[in-house]
Amino acid sequence: MAITSLAFVGFAAFVLVIYYLLPRRPQNYWLLAASYAFYVTWAWEFAVVLTLLILVNFGLAKAIQGRSAHKRLLLWIGIGFNVLALAFFKYADFFVPEMVARQQQANGQMAGGGFRLLLPIGLSFMILEGISYLVDVYRDQVQAASDLVDFALYLAYFPKLLSGPIERYRSFSPKLAQPRVVDNETLARSFMLIVVGLVRKLVVADLLLLLIPKEIVLTPGEFDASRVALWLIAYGFWLYNDFAGYTSMVRGLSGLFGIELSPNFQIPYFARNFTEFWNRWHITLSHWLRDYIYFPLSRALLRRNPSRRNLLNLILPPIATMLISGLWHEASLFLLIWGALHGVYQIVERLPSLWRPVVPPDKWPLWRQGIAVVGVVVLALLAWIPFGVGVSDTPIYWRDSPDKISSAGLDSRLLVTMVPGIWLDWVQYRRGEFAFLRWPRLARATLLAFAFLAVLGALQIAATPPPFVYQGF
């Protein structure tokens, strides 16, 4: 059940009505039942995998907390279990159909069909939540869950089940334990998040996807440089608005249940360096990687040689972290290249601070801030070429990319479609995420009417919204 479908709207409304008829404790049981029902609509096998993950992580955390002698071993068993589960589904999904096809070819059969492992939707997100939970229990930063239902809800909670945000048990579990307060302010914020999310996804992202011509990916040499550049920009805006739209919607939905989810985006295309970019783009993943990969690795190295100028300290943690980020997205070479590029970006931007005084970006002259913003956007877009085109075609893409620049034939619809997204970013960058709620009543009503019309118009053009880009992870 896609969360942009009418069926999901009906499902969420039904769950909400029953939810508010129940006392607090049964509310959690109801949410868990609804989460499982939602997950089963994708495939019943997913529910089996989810249950296994819940039971193993729940049991291991209890064992880690109870047995000081084998804590470390149990932690590594838990991390190994989660990583292997992820690798099994991600890599098997890649290799099994290939092996079946080869076997069929060898037997003289037509390729295709045969056994195929399904990657449980949202598995990558659950795995990271499971690992952070085990590590935090091991470090005594959180008590192992005593209630299986609450823990199950931590992994399975349906608004965040498909693509996060990646929550931490120590901040999520208190929200399950406390009474749900949904006052007027929470309602207003939740609805605003849902409307902004719908506009980002349906009006900006889905229409951009329709407008980006497939030929420009396959045969860039047939187009002039301006069109290829415009496609790249549109691609970057599509990716961002698709995922930011999803996050906004699910945060809004969860707010209606009185459970606040973490923000995942904070106007990333206004970042002035890549450190800032990763604090604004897919924030919960960036912070997970920082806390469980970058910091442990960095601190281990710094204990041996506590200097910023040491090459190993400078190079290894960002490269390793971003390569793991690439692998987490998908077991493919193009995401490794993407990760390596982002690792290199972070290393290079740190180099001047090794010998020059550090000046915070806010104190840079405006012209330098502007150039830095454009530079970060351009480099981020270039890193997405292997993401969008594929590794084998990337060299061809570069080789065939044209050098003549012309504004003739530029699709103005692409530019027009990006405008609402850019405008939303600008307002939120200048006035904060909930700026629209501070507008006068008439302005808010007008804006809502425009958003409603834009969403209806977009649905006329793209009647079946494509799935979210991160849904595949």
Binding site: R272, D291, P296, P357, P361, D362
Partner: protein
């Protein structure tokens, strides 16, 4: 643990080792992480500095802008953890 001693030691470390600028007029309440003065590598260094100079281990998940954005927050954390351990 004397907060002033921790503050002076931390200030000198941040200015010399992290900012390369001993004359930078750092305020006790000035945001260091959210302003971009201190990046993740510097934050990891602050964690190691707290371990080695004051014997205080700040967990990786606590090395965040919410906990340690200003000199005051860093001093409070080190002093309270240090006093708890002694």
């Amino acid at each position: 643990m004397d907060p002033n001693e921790v503050r002076n030691s931390l200030r000198a470390f941040v200015l010399k080792e992290l900012l390369n600028n001993p004359s930078y007029p750092i305020e006790d309440d000035e945001p260091l992480i959210t302003s971009g003065l201190v990046d993740s590598l510097s934050l990891a260094l602050i964690g190691v500095f707290a371990e080695e100079s004051f014997g205080v281990y700040i967990p990786d998940t606590d090395l965040t802008a919410e906990n340690l954005d200003t000199l005051n927050q860093m001093v409070d954390r080190i002093v309270s953890d240090g006093n708890r351990e002694t």
